[in-house]
């Protein structure tokens, strides 16, 4: 048993080396870059390519990549050594598709192909149209023709410097240029109306000096620079940033990766677009696409992109940029960053404002309606008071005639004294004082009556419920005495502040007391009306008016506060209904009960005015 397990384990260990057929079935893609993929531009091409290929559903490819570094190294020996190296390296790796980046790489691959990878399809990219025509690749070679024109950079330079007079083209010597080398022929046609200075192939030190002294109305167009002219090779981006340090004019660039090292922008090559397109072509071939159906094709891998920081520095206006320009590295404005949040907040505020205005409108309408209701109530209350005043006319007449009687008698006595030969002046003085006092008393009665009968607008003021009760009980004392009714008022010992209309509240209480007096008219003895004020918890005050009459007939209990309901022979039945309306307008309540020991009690509760 143990032996068998050991044997199985050994087979498992040996399995990978024991299956050369499986190795042969694995598929490989070889990418050959003419430069160095560690440079950011080429790296982005490769990354985009890998991402595109990797997105394929059958992504079981091995992608090999080689930097041929043909920009820095050249010569027959180098190239033949490279060929040998690749031949040896990929002898056992059957490459399915060759991907070639750059014109130099395409040139060597076309030369080596028959020997190293006969019949293997080739996909190239980063080859411009002039080179493509010159190299004349065979039909089983396809790819993307990618051009970058000097004319575009001049357009960009004009956008950056609207009154452009001269351009300075900087970079390595023309014969060391790869991507931009065709600009050399283009200079004459693209910039015919400009003064063009080519600062190509000098040392970086000289160049730095030179770009710091450029005249106004000029722009720098950076091609590519890999050599400082003093023996050091550097990357295009690094060279640009060193130039930009010194430059006194904006630098137009032609590659996306040159924006951040100091380029103001321009029509730039987009490595991601280039890499992705190469990836797509490879996948079509792998998926069985025939090369005849996939001819080489020029692709649009250039877009106007500008650097916001540099634009700021050189005073470039956004409106001057070519249409469709994209601006990078802009500090996102609040609007850019929080557009939706801002819109949402604005929407909320607008909705809220609308709601508020609707509510305000409603409130306005409500207060109008309340005003209207109070107006009606005032009129109704006035009618009620006139009716009550009619019932009280004997009492009022009595109160008024009392002082008038005294005045008349006093006046006549005074006349009598004056007729005597020696008038008693002291007595006359007393009499006149008495007349005066009685006159005031009479006018007080009139005043009280008038204020009771006045048509007053409903008005809430701070009043003491005890004062209101006391005034009513004083006012009705004469009426009660005439009816042989004793009025008692037990006031709560402290003030009961409420917000109310004094005249209307007095009307309510007066109405209740007069009702009580009348209710006892048939009683032989014990006629009394007791008024009380009290606290009800901490929030409201209670007034009660109780009598010893026959009480409220049980069938009338629910209706006594309804209009035109009356138990009196001569009553309109509006007093209690007005009373209820008034109390409701004061946010209070009024109700009636029969007392266990006989008689009715009317109570009303009013909210205290809390300070």
């Amino acid at each position: 048993m143990a032996l068998r397990g050991l044997i199985v384990g050994l087979f498992a260990l040996l399995a990978p080396t024991d299956l050369p057929a499986g190795e042969a079935r694995s598929r490989s893609i070889l990418v050959l870059d003419q430069s160095d993929m560690r440079g950011s531009f080429n790296h982005q091409i490769f990354a985009a390519f890998q991402a595109e290929v990797g997105s394929h559903s059958r992504s079981n490819f091995t992608v090999y990549a080689e930097d041929l570094d043909l920009e820095r190294f050249s010569g027959e020996d180098y190239e033949s050594t490279l060929q040998k190296m690749l031949s040896a390296k990929y002898r056992d790796k059957p490459v399915e598709v060759l991907v070639v980046i750059g014109e130099c790489a395409l040139r060597v691959v076309l030369r080596w192909r028959d020997e190293l990878w006969p019949g293997i399809p080739v996909v190239f990219t980063m080859v411009d149209e002039a080179d493509f025509r010159r190299l004349k690749p065979p039909p089983d070679v396809t790819g993307s023709i990618v051009g970058v024109k000097l004319a575009d950079s001049i357009i960009a330079a004009r956008a950056v410097v609207p009154d452009l007079a001269s351009v300075y083209i900087v970079g390595d010597a023309w014969d060391r240029q790869t991507v931009f080398k065709n600009w050399r022929e283009e200079v004459a046609s693209a910039a015919s109306d400009l003064h063009v200075v080519e600062l190509m192939g000098g040392t970086l030190t000289e160049l730095r000096q030179r770009v710091s002294e450029l005249p106004e109305r000029s722009a720098i167009i950076y091609s590519s620079m890999h050599f400082d002219g003093e023996g050091t090779s550097l990357r295009a981006g690094a060279a640009l940033s060193r130039i930009a340090e010194k430059a006194n004019r904006p630098i137009v660039v032609a590659a996306e990766t040159l924006l951040s090292p100091g380029g103001v922008g321009g029509y730039v090559l987009l490595p991601s677009v280039i890499g992705a397109e190469a990836g797509r072509l490879v996948l079509r071939i792998i998926d069985g696409g025939k090369l005849v159906d996939i001819p080489p094709k020029a692709i649009e891998a250039v877009a106007p992109i500008f650097n916001w920081g540099q634009m700021e520095r050189w005073g470039v206006r956004e409106s001057d940029l070519p249409p469709g320009s994209e601006i990078r590295f802009r500090d996102a404005t609040f609007w850019d960053e929080y557009r939706w949040q801002t819109l949402a907040v604005i929407a909320v505020i607008l909705i809220q404002a609308a709601l508020i205005s609707i509510l305000l409108h409603e409130r306005r309408r409500r207060s109008d309606a309340e005003f209207e209701a109070h107006q009606r109530l005032s009129e109704l209350a006035h009618v009620g008071r006139r009716a009550t005043a009619g019932e009280l006319s004997s009492s009022i007449a009595h109160e008024l005639n009392q002082p008038l009687g005294a005045i008349l008698t006093n006046a006549e006595t005074a006349e009598l004294i004056l007729e005597s030969p020696s008038p008693d002046l002291a007595e006359l003085k007393d009499i006149v004082a008495d007349i005066r006092r009685d006159d005031q008393r009479a006018s007080e009665v009139i005043h009280r009556l008038r204020s009771f009968l006045r048509r007053t607008p409903f008005e809430l003021r701070d009043v003491d419920l005890n004062d209101i009760m006391r005034e009513v009980f004083d006012f009705l004392a004469a009426q009660a005495a005439a009816s042989n009714v004793v009025l008692y008022f037990n006031a709560f010992p402290e003030a009961l502040p409420i917000k109310g209309d004094a005249v209307q509240l007095q009307q309510v209480i007066l109405n209740l007391v007069v009702n009580s007096i009348e209710a006892m008219s048939a009683m032989p003895y014990g006629r009394a009306v007791i008024g009380r004020t009290d606290l009800n918890g901490g929030t409201s005050a209670i007034v009660s008016i109780s009598d010893f009459g026959p009480g409220i007939p049980s069938k009338g209990f629910n209706e006594i506060f309804d209009p035109f309901f009356t138990t009196k022979k001569q009553g309109m039945g509006i007093g209690l209904s007005i009373a209820r309306t008034i109390i409701q307008a004061h946010k209070g309540q009024i109700w009636a009960e029969n007392q266990a020991e006989g008689g009715a009690v009317f109570r009303l509760s009013l909210p205290l005015a809390l300070h």
């Binding site: 006319s393 004997s394 009492s395 007449a397 009595h398 109160e399 008024l400 005639n401 009392q402 002082p403 008038l404 009687g405 005294a406 005045i407 008349l408 008698t409 006093n410 006549e412 006595t413 009598l416 004294i417 007595e427 009499i431 008495d434 006092r437 009685d438 008393r441 004469a478 005495a481 005439a482 042989n484």
Partner: protein
């Protein structure tokens, strides 16, 4: 005619004014703020007087006080004064024997005239009462038997008839009758009948205790 006016009014101001005016007219004045005060100090009726009473006064109303005074045998005429005269109260007061019913404000002339009338009436009724009291005193001196004889005589009965009713002789009755004439200080039968009528002996049984 001088006399005392009793003013019952809860209104101090009016009391003072009226008191002042009445004093000027030569009356003496007593004032009361309530019905209770008057009942507590019942006026002396030996002097001519009258009551000036407000309809609306504390404790008892004017008409109620009027009723009470009547029951207490007061002969003081009552003049009502009111701030507001409703028909019901007026009729009730007059029926109960009010001297007059005045409405405030009242002129002094009118008030004094009414007070004077009331005084005269009181004087007159006082005189009548005085006479009556004298007669009653004389009547009280009669023995029960004499009283029986008196009653019989004024009823027009002859001596014989009275004697038979009382179970005695005509002669004894004749002697009693002489005694009665003597005690009542009259000389004729007609005078005796007049007295009997005034003290109410002829009107019914209730005022004339026939048997003692």
């Amino acid at each position: 005619m001088a006399g005392t006016v009793h003013v019952v009014d809860d209104d101090a101001s009016f009391r003072t004014a009226v008191e002042r005016r009445l004093k000027k007219a030569g009356y003496s004045v007593a004032t009361y703020a309530s019905a209770r005060q008057l009942l507590d100090h019942l006026p002396d009726e030996s002097q001519p007087g009258c009551i000036l009473l407000d309809v609306r006064i504390p404790d008892l109303s004017g008409p109620q006080l009027q009723d009470r005074l009547g029951k207490l045998g007061s002969t003081l005429p009552i003049v009502f004064l009111t701030g507001y005269a409703d028909v019901r109260t007026t009729v009730q007061a007059i029926k109960a024997g009010a001297e007059d019913f005045l409405t405030k404000p009242v002129s002094s002339e009118h008030l004094l005239r009414v007070v004077e009338q009331a005084m005269e009436r009181h004087e007159a009724s006082r005189w009548v009462k005085q006479k009556l009291d004298t007669l009653r005193e004389l009547l009280d001196t009669l023995t029960p038997r004499e009283r029986q004889v008196f009653e019989g005589v004024v009823q027009g009965k002859i001596n014989k008839q009275i004697g038979r009713e009382l179970g005695t002789t005509e002669r004894t009755i004749k002697a009693h009758r002489h005694q009665v004439m003597e005690k009542m200080k009259v000389r004729s039968l007609a005078e005796l009948v007049s007295i009997a009528e005034r003290v109410g002996m002829l009107r019914g049984e209730e005022n004339t205790p026939v048997s003692g």
